[in-house]
């Protein structure tokens, strides 16, 4: 059998560089997720509310996000805005903007879904006990919303981590780009490196995403 090309990983600082690239990917998704959760909560509450104009606007926004490929958004924000608006966005800032634009929409819709899924009678039986509106939300509605929300938003996090593999297209040196560089640099000495290095990248993504997705599954069962 041919060599699997794993040897390159042990040359110099190659493996550490891969891990560094992984951190770039995780950092972009963590920041984007934090923004998405904060703004998504607000958007979800507004979407579950009564203002029709706002609801229609969010509907359109959500559709745009769902239809538009993330890569196109990345190109529009990173390459497109530079000349037209004169913005000098760093690749990482562009990536965070695009991922948040996507995440806020999805998160907002998740929050909306969780809020409207709490039956009317839960509000009423809490009110009937004499709880004030604020107490009804604080002790009865929001804890239940939160429990429905957490597993769903964890899934969004794993999807974001996976999608960060696109950001190398706007020049961010994340884990996949590092992998490419390592393979290019060792083309002569280890021609089989593509297999070993990309397989390692796969494994790294798996090691990050699998526990997160197991956690979501566990919480979903526990709080069902």
């Amino acid at each position: 059998m041919q060599s699997l090309g794993l040897d390159v990983l042990f040359k110099g600082k190659n493996f550490v560089r891969l891990l560094g690239g992984l951190w770039v990917a995780v950092r972009i998704s963590l920041i984007s997720v934090a923004i998405s959760i904060a703004l998504g909560l607000i958007m979800g509450m507004l979407m579950a509310g009564k203002n029709r104009v706002l609801k229609a606007m969010f509907r359109v926004y959500l559709e745009i996000v769902r239809i538009m490929p993330q890569m196109v958004l990345l190109f529009v924000v990173y390459f497109g805005t530079t000349r037209v608006f004169g913005w000098n966005l760093s690749p990482e800032a562009s990536a965070i903007i695009v991922f948040s634009f996507w995440g806020v929409a999805e998160m907002g819709d998740l929050v909306r879904g969780a809020l409207v899924s709490i039956p009317r009678i839960q509000y009423e039986s809490a009110e009937a006990l004499g709880l004030t509106t604020a107490q009804v939300y604080l002790y009865v509605i929001l804890p239940q919303t939160f429990r429905r929300l957490v597993p769903l938003s964890i899934n969004l996090i794993t999807r974001m981590i996976k999608t960060t593999s696109l950001v190398m297209m706007i020049g961010i040196v994340e884990v996949l780009k590092v992998a490419q560089q390592i393979i290019e640099a060792n083309r002569r000495t280890s021609p089989n490196a593509a297999f070993g290095v990309f397989a390692t990248v796969f494994l790294l993504y798996f090691l990050i995403c699998w526990p997160i997705s197991r956690l979501a599954g566990y919480l979903e069962k526990r709080w069902a």
Partner: protein, 246 residues
């Protein structure tokens, strides 16, 4: 005449054109058990919901201890503490244990210390035979057990009146009995109750007064439940009661 604990005067409730309660008047005295029966859609559940101000009303008044119950009033939380309500679908809070379900209102609304509220909760749980389930979650209980917990959750607030809205309608027949036994005990101990039910034998056993409701009006009222169930005065009530015979 002594003032009634609960007094309803010309209560009117409508959804748009559809009138659900049509100038309904009713008084419930302290210690009295009033049972409301009638065909579905007659307005009996809506009546209970209006008393607790869970619905907007289009006219008339609900008075508890002579004080109006108003949905938008600042003191509505205080008023509702005096009115215990149990719903058909139990509606325990699924994210809280049985004990926490019971303790939420006394601790957060009445600001009672936990130890004192907990002692009473355990006593009440013991009375309904569920003391050993205090740390379980609602999903681990049967329908009849959940409904008994819902009754305890209402009782711990020391309500002046209990509103029971078809509390056995969603239960399997063998669970109906255990729940109604609890209610019978309450009646024996002098609780004031307004009960909406489809259990006619239960109604006959527990009622001091029976109201037959149809089309948002009281069609027949009787202070002698035995006589009412044996020989209702109105043709309409007779027809209704016949639907329970085979």
């Amino acid at each position: 005449m002594e003032n009634a604990l609960l007094e309803i005067k010309d209560l009117k409730k409508a959804y748009g054109e559809h009138v659900v309660l049509d100038d309904l008047s009713l008084a419930v005295n302290k210690g009295e058990v009033v049972v409301v029966i009638g065909p579905s859609g007659c307005g009996k559940s809506t009546l209970l919901r209006c008393i607790n101000a869970l619905e907007d009303i289009q006219g008339g008044q609900v008075l508890l201890d002579g004080q109006p119950v108003l949905r938008q009033a600042k003191n509505i939380s205080r008023t509702r503490q005096k009115i215990g309500m149990v719903f058909q679908s139990y509606d325990l809070f699924p994210h809280k244990t049985i004990l926490d379900n019971i303790l939420l209102a006394p601790m957060k609304v009445q600001k009672r210390p936990r130890a004192q509220a907990e002692a009473e909760a355990l006593e009440l749980l013991d009375r309904v035979g569920l003391a050993d389930r205090k740390d379980d979650y609602p999903r681990q209980l049967s329908g009849g057990q959940k409904q008994r917990i819902a009754i305890v959750r209402a009782l711990i607030m020391h309500p002046e009146i209990l509103l029971l809205d078809e509390i056995t309608a969603a239960l399997d027949p063998e669970m109906v009995h255990e729940v109604l036994q609890v209610v019978l005990d309450l009646a024996k101990n002098g609780s004031t109750m307004l009960i909406v039910t489809h259990e006619m034998t239960f109604a006959r056993a527990i009622a001091d007064r029976v109201l037959f409701l149809e089309g948002g009006r009281i069609v027949e009222e009787s202070a002698d439940p035995k006589a009412f169930f044996a020989r209702p005065a109105t043709e309409r009530a007779r027809q209704f009661l016949r639907t329970f015979e085979y």
